[in-house]
């Protein structure tokens, strides 16, 4: 993508997010609608940074209890045992089970934290109007978008386990409070990614070109 290209916004045009039709907005600043698919049309996603920040902060807040509270409590004849995610990783860590342990470690601990850090980085650079590493930043954004949803696997596994392992007198598995916070982390990071408008990455450089011109 060449930085010299004019953007639609600079030409006073709006691109529909739904069908991709480029249209001219109405005179007043009221919300416009795409003449083709009736999707709301804006120059940029409305309050993109604010929303992304909001969801990111939510994710960051939820990330703490998600890792401190037990996600799964197993009740056996021996008694009830509650494990946090990290305890689960340690528990799974064995000569034969280490790949599984690594999967959990990556999917449940590294990826959410990496997502939060990546989005924070993107937001800060966009807000500061940085024009460097644009290509790398958009690549980062795509990776975050693709990888993020997989974290939900952990929640599903827990939910399935809790539903299936109900051998009442002998053993039962209950989801712990940490699981809800973990799900909140995954969902809010996904929403944050969704709210972020990647076009904002390019705006500063285009504006600067316009200013130069």
């Amino acid at each position: 993508m060449s930085a010299t290209a004019l953007t639609a916004m600079q030409l006073g045009l709006q691109r529909c997010e739904g069908c991709g039709l480029v249209s001219r907005p109405m005179e007043d600043e009221a919300e416009g609608r795409c003449p083709r698919c009736d999707e709301g049309v804006e120059f940029r996603k409305r309050a993109s940074l604010q929303r992304t920040w909001a969801f990111l902060v939510t994710a960051a807040i939820c990330y703490i209890p998600a890792n401190l509270l037990p996600v799964l409590s197993t009740t056996t004849a021996e008694g009830t045992e509650s494990d946090t995610i990290l305890q689960g990783v340690v528990l799974l860590w064995s000569p034969t089970g280490w790949p599984l342990s690594l999967i959990v470690l990556f999917a449940s601990i590294m990826i959410p934290s990496a997502k939060i850090l990546a989005l924070t980085y993107l937001l800060i650079t966009v807000q500061r109007g940085s024009i460097r590493n644009n290509e790398q930043r958009i690549r980062l954004y795509r990776v975050v978008d693709v990888v993020g949803r997989w974290s939900m696997v952990d929640v599903f596994v827990d939910a399935f386990t809790a539903a299936l392992v109900q051998l009442q007198p002998l053993m039962s598995v209950e989801p712990g409070p940490g699981l809800f916070f973990f799900a909140a982390v995954v969902v809010s990071t996904m929403l944050a990614v969704e709210s972020f408008d990647p076009r904002l990455i390019w705006d500063p450089s285009s504006e600067r070109e316009v200013a130069h011109a």
Binding site: T58, I61, C62, P65, A77, G79, E81, P177, F181, S188
Partner: protein, 522 residues
């Protein structure tokens, strides 16, 4: 742009920014909610953190940090979080996190103990821990003081603190088959248990702590007697063979029984922790306790085989004491052998009550008077066989009015009571007497005389036989006498027949007497 004066450089216009854009988006509610939820969880977590306690244990066997629970009546009230050794490496300190509001039961006398499977005698406890692993049991105390650092008990308390009833202490010389949890019977109902036992400081006796459940504890009065009902008590005494037991359970695991002797005045229940003596068996428990026993010596000259220490001293069938010691004495001058038997006597058991003491009198003088008058009336000690089966002897005090008069020398200690030969001895004496008499008989002379008489008899018999032979000859069938006798008898028969014919004829012809026979003429 109304007043744009020429000459000034073009000033850029301020951009119109809609108010809406600066207003914070509603989306900020989301992190707010998340923060609130997180804070709420954090607060409840902190709130749900109960007090932390430490327990000093002998061993942490079976305990696991993070897993071992503290339970009260089956309800989880805490979790062991950390186990470490004490600084001197002798004990184990377990740190436990109690449930919220756990402070209320962490009192000065709250007890903790580790529940492990225990099999002892009648009690099998903690079997569930075989599967679930050990846990820590708890009993809430009654104290007002609170504390956090506890020393765990070695074993669970036998009786929970809130069970109504009372503790008593039994003193015994040896433990027998008693153990923690040994049942206590009252009229063969199990009413309590042994809770603990300890050797006294002097090492001479044991104190057994027992617990009697309410309402049975009211039957324990100051005069209640406790005895060991452990197993089957087979005793072979002067009274014969006796077998005693409480129940099958007590046969297997032992037990203690108690009873209050009947007939006494109604006594108030004994206070808690009253000390009682634990008797070996019911019989010894029910012996009237000797309040002031005196020792006397009874010197026997006969064999005391079968007499044992502890053998009863009987007075008219009532046990009034027992044999304390049996010695042997050989008089160096006369070589006479005698056996002084020391007995412990309680004259009060003879039914004498030293109640109305005249002023100036003391027990001793009254007792001396009593014994003196008894001896004067013929009271003597005698050895008697209690059981023919075992040959066991006992000492009987009995009245022998025919006995030689004797007195008691009170200057001796212990004073000696006169004795009388025992029954066996008396029988022996008379048998010897008879044998002596038999021995003194002129048996040889009697024999000679007898022989002479027999010879005479022989002669007499020979002559008698000759006489009889002669007599036999007289009556033999062919003897002259018998032939003559036959003939005579035949003659007599004929004569009789002639007489009968004459009689008949005279009946029919009475005139023949006058006229003579006429028939032949007609």
């Amino acid at each position: 742009m109304p007043d744009q004066t020429p000459g000034t450089p073009p000033v850029p216009e301020s951009r119109m920014v809609s108010r809406r854009k600066t207003r914070p988006s509603l989306v900020w509610i989301v992190p707010l909610v998340a923060a609130l939820a997180g804070a709420w969880v954090a607060v409840t977590r902190v709130m749900s953190e109960g007090p932390e306690i430490t327990l000093v244990l002998e061993t942490a066997e079976g305990l696991e940090a993070g897993k071992t629970k503290i339970r009260y009546n089956g309800v989880e009230v805490g979790t062991v979080t950390r186990i470490r050794l004490t600084d001197d490496h002798e004990k184990v300190v377990a740190t436990a996190q109690m449930v919220p509001k756990g402070e209320s039961f962490l009192l000065e006398d709250t007890a903790f103990w580790v529940v492990r499977p225990r099999v002892s005698g009648a009690n099998v406890t903690g079997l569930g821990t075989l599967i679930s692993g050990a846990y820590i049991g708890m009993e809430i105390g009654h104290s007002k003081e609170r504390k956090r650092d506890f020393v765990a008990l070695d074993s669970p308390p036998i009786v929970a603190a809130d069970v109504p009833g009372r503790y008593f202490v039994l003193e015994t010389a040896d433990l027998g088959s008693l153990d923690d949890g040994t049942p206590i019977y009252f009229r063969r109902i199990q009413v309590g248990e042994v809770t603990s036992y300890a050797l006294d400081d002097d090492g001479k006796s044991l104190s057994v702590k027992i617990f009697i459940n309410s309402p049975y504890d009211q039957f324990v009065t100051t005069s209640t007697l406790f005895w060991n009902a452990s197993g089957v008590d087979v005793s072979l005494t002067a009274a014969g063979l006796s077998v005693q037991s409480q129940s099958v359970m007590s046969i297997l695991v032992g037990g203690i029984a108690f009873e209050t002797p009947a007939g006494g005045p109604a006594l108030s229940p004994a206070a808690a922790d009253t000390k009682f003596t634990l008797f070996d068996d019911r019989e010894s428990a029910f012996k009237t306790p000797s309040r002031d026993p005196q020792t006397y010596v009874l010197v026997f000259t006969q064999s005391v085989r079968g007499l044992t220490v502890g053998a009863p001293v009987d007075f008219g069938g009532i046990s009034v004491g027992e044999v304390v010691a049996i010695n042997a004495e050989l008089d160096a001058d006369t070589f006479e052998f005698s056996v002084p038997v020391t007995v412990s006597l309680d004259v009060e058991r003879m039914g004498v009550e030293f109640t109305g003491l005249a002023p100036g009198q003391d027990f001793a003088s009254v007792r001396h008077q009593l014994v003196d008058s008894l001896v004067a009336k013929g009271a003597r000690g005698q050895l008697r066989t209690g059981s023919l089966l075992t040959g066991a002897l006992y000492v009987a005090l009995d009245m022998f009015p025919d006995a030689q008069p004797a007195t008691v020398d009170w200057s001796q200690t212990p004073p000696s009571l006169p004795t009388f030969p025992g029954e066996i001895q008396a029988i022996e004496a008379s048998v010897v007497n008879i044998i002596k008499k038999i021995d003194q008989m002129p048996l040889e002379k009697i024999g000679n005389d007898l022989q002479t008489a027999i010879v005479d008899l022989d002669r007499t018999l020979v002559s008698a036989r000759t006489t009889l032979d002669d007599a036999g000859k007289l009556v033999a069938p062919n003897s002259v006498l018998s032939t003559q006798l036959d003939n005579t008898l035949m003659e007599m028969t004929r004569a009789a027949r002639g007489l009968r014919v004459l009689a008949d004829y005279l009946e029919r012809h009475p005139e023949a007497l006058l006229r003579g026979k006429t028939g032949e003429a007609q």
